[in-house]
């Protein structure tokens, strides 16, 4: 057994952190991507994430089947998404405001219902050991991957294809880009948006299930620490492109590991700032890559407009 990896531990920890920690970002950002493509913003995915985490853990504990938990988490997310999708489409109702109210409502409900499930230990999701060939226990552990993460990675190109090449994807894009044209085509904007928001919120719920049933793998009220909100921001960073959501999520998942990994090899100064590095990095990248000369590619035209 190689006891001490030393500095090699840092890239390994970042790799492992990426494989372990990026799934919640991935699911929420894909969900938000779908939502925003249809022309609405849902900041409330933080609430869906928490509700998903709680319900997955509770159901997994009650039924003994973590996968049932994942499904219920998706349904719980979908229900919250239904409220958001319906409410945010009422005339003169601002979707950002509804989103923040949904964060409060969703997290409140999750904490309220989740009280009895903080103490028990629920069965966890299994993992696939891609590193079983390795003699290094560190590498083996790092390469242990959740099937749920793989599912998320598969959804990204699938969603890309959905937007590009399917009729339904075209409908969503049309509703998001030019609602008037879509209306002229005879599409029900309300239904398309409602469905997009519900599916998006369901994805966030599944992301929550990952938090409580795989990594860190327990239900506590601080479990998300704002990851849902961050993932919403990721979508803008990723230019409403599902594949770029994947890359951005991997970046953020890995960045979470930087602070602790550096400390574990003895870099102790400035850890507050190291821990804030993902945020600083994102801001810098945005400052560099954005430009007032051209509008962002991929931005849905109707985004941020309230219906009168």
């Amino acid at each position: 057994m190689s006891a001490d990896l030393g500095w090699w531990g840092v890239p390994l920890a970042i790799l492992a952190g990426t494989l372990r920690g990026s799934a919640p970002f991935l699911f929420v950002s894909l969900g938000e991507c779908l939502t925003e493509k249809s022309g609405k913003i849902n900041l409330g995915l933080e609430g869906s994430l928490l509700m998903g985490a709680m319900s997955a853990y509770a159901i997994s504990y009650l039924t003994g089947s973590p996968w049932t938990g994942v499904i219920v988490a998706g349904i719980a997310g979908m229900a919250l998404g239904g409220i958001h999708g319906w409410l945010a489409q009422q005339p003169r109702v601002n979707d950002v405001a509804v989103g923040i109210a949904m964060i409060i409502f969703g997290s409140g409900l999750a904490f309220f219902l989740g009280k009895p499930f903080i103490q028990p230990v629920a069965p966890q999701l299994p993992s696939i050991a891609f590193g079983s060939w390795s003699s290094s226990p560190q590498l083996e552990s790092a390469l242990r991957v959740s099937p749920l993460f793989i599912l998320g990675v598969l959804i990204a190109p699938l969603m890309q294809w959905f937007f590009r090449s399917t009729r339904w994807g075209l409908l969503v894009r049309a509703v998001g880009d030019s609602p008037d044209a879509a209306r002229a085509m005879g599409i029900s904007i309300f239904k398309v948006r409602l469905l997009s928001i519900m599916v998006g919120s369901a994805l966030a719920g599944v992301g929550g299930a990952f938090l409580s049933l795989y990594y860190p793998g327990s239900w506590t009220e601080r479990i998300s620490s704002g990851q849902g909100l961050m993932a919403v921001a990721l979508v803008i960073f990723a230019r409403w492109n599902p594949m770029q959501c994947l890359y951005a999520s991997l970046l953020f998942g890995g960045a979470q590991a930087i602070g602790p990994a550096l400390q574990s090899v003895g870099v102790d100064a400035y850890y507050y700032l190291f821990n804030a590095s993902p945020y600083i990095l994102t801001l810098l990248i945005m400052i560099i890559t954005c430009s007032p000369k051209r509008t962002l590619t991929g931005v849905p035209g109707a985004l941020g407009q309230t219906q009168e």
Partner: protein
Amino acid sequence: MTISWRSQLEKVCIPIGALLVSLIIFGVFCAFAGANPFGVYHSIYRAAFGTWGSFQNTLIRAAPLMLSSLCTLLPARLGLVIIGNEGAIVIGGVAAVAAGLTLADFGLPTLMIQLGMALAGMLIGGLWIGAVGALRHYRAVNETISSLLLNYIAIALMNHLVNGPMRDPSSLNKPSSFPIPDVHMLGNLPGTRVHYGLLYGIIACAIAYFLIQRTTFGFAARTAGGNIRAARLAGLPVGKLTMAICFLAGSCAGLAGMVEVAAVHGRANESLNANYGYGGVLVAFIARQNPLAASLVSLLLGGILASGGILQRSHNLPDATVLVFQGIVFLVVLFSDSLYGKLAIFQARSVSLPPAAPAATSV
């Protein structure tokens, strides 16, 4: 003038109706949780509004929300969605402490020190959100995401400062900056236990209302918020407007941070990060970006927060109940916005009304 009284009545009845409906929904929720809804109503009233003593509780909780809400509210008139309130509060608080400590070293009189703290908080808070406006204008960086990121960065910066360069070595187990001497702290409003932050909040809301509704500056901002391209064609300096509004917004939040430091904590530490930021965002939108309404909505939210404790103590409901209550109230109030002009009872027979107060709607 039947039209006018009907629409006035509508403006009063819809919010009140929304509150009643949300109370009913919450009551049903409590009944499911095994508590007596009427007992709960009584407790909420008692804890938030029942006596002058408990109403002060509401006022104290509302005070920081008023200033915080302006940080979202003002840019919203320009069509910008800024949620960086928390960061501006934290960074404004840190700046206020730094200024207060420096000025106290020079032995200045209390009034000067408080003024210096307020100005420092407002300046740094203003620059913090002003930077968001500048990034928006010059680099087209989305203001929502950049202000969100700046929240995390501000909190990390504050933690770094109070654990390192600004740390008072005698603050052993809760790393803090050096304390502002007691004599320089903001006091309470006469006859109350409510600190001066409430007064600042009300004044700031009034000024903001005047600025937006009654000045050419406000008119220009509203115009630009309506349609940026049209505003450019009309020769309005959109960039300067954006940065000026963002600066003002940030300075309100910075002032909130200063008040937290100068009236409550006396020093900068992790307690500064107390979630007044997101509360303020919600208040701003619920108030439909009207600064006067924002002060009332802050009172409402303050009352809800004030009643959170008694739900736990008297009804054995978990601490999250107040979050659920808050969520229900705001979702219902938001929904009620869509009812203006829809309910027949408030419509004059012959005239079909446009929605009330078009100037106040979001863009």
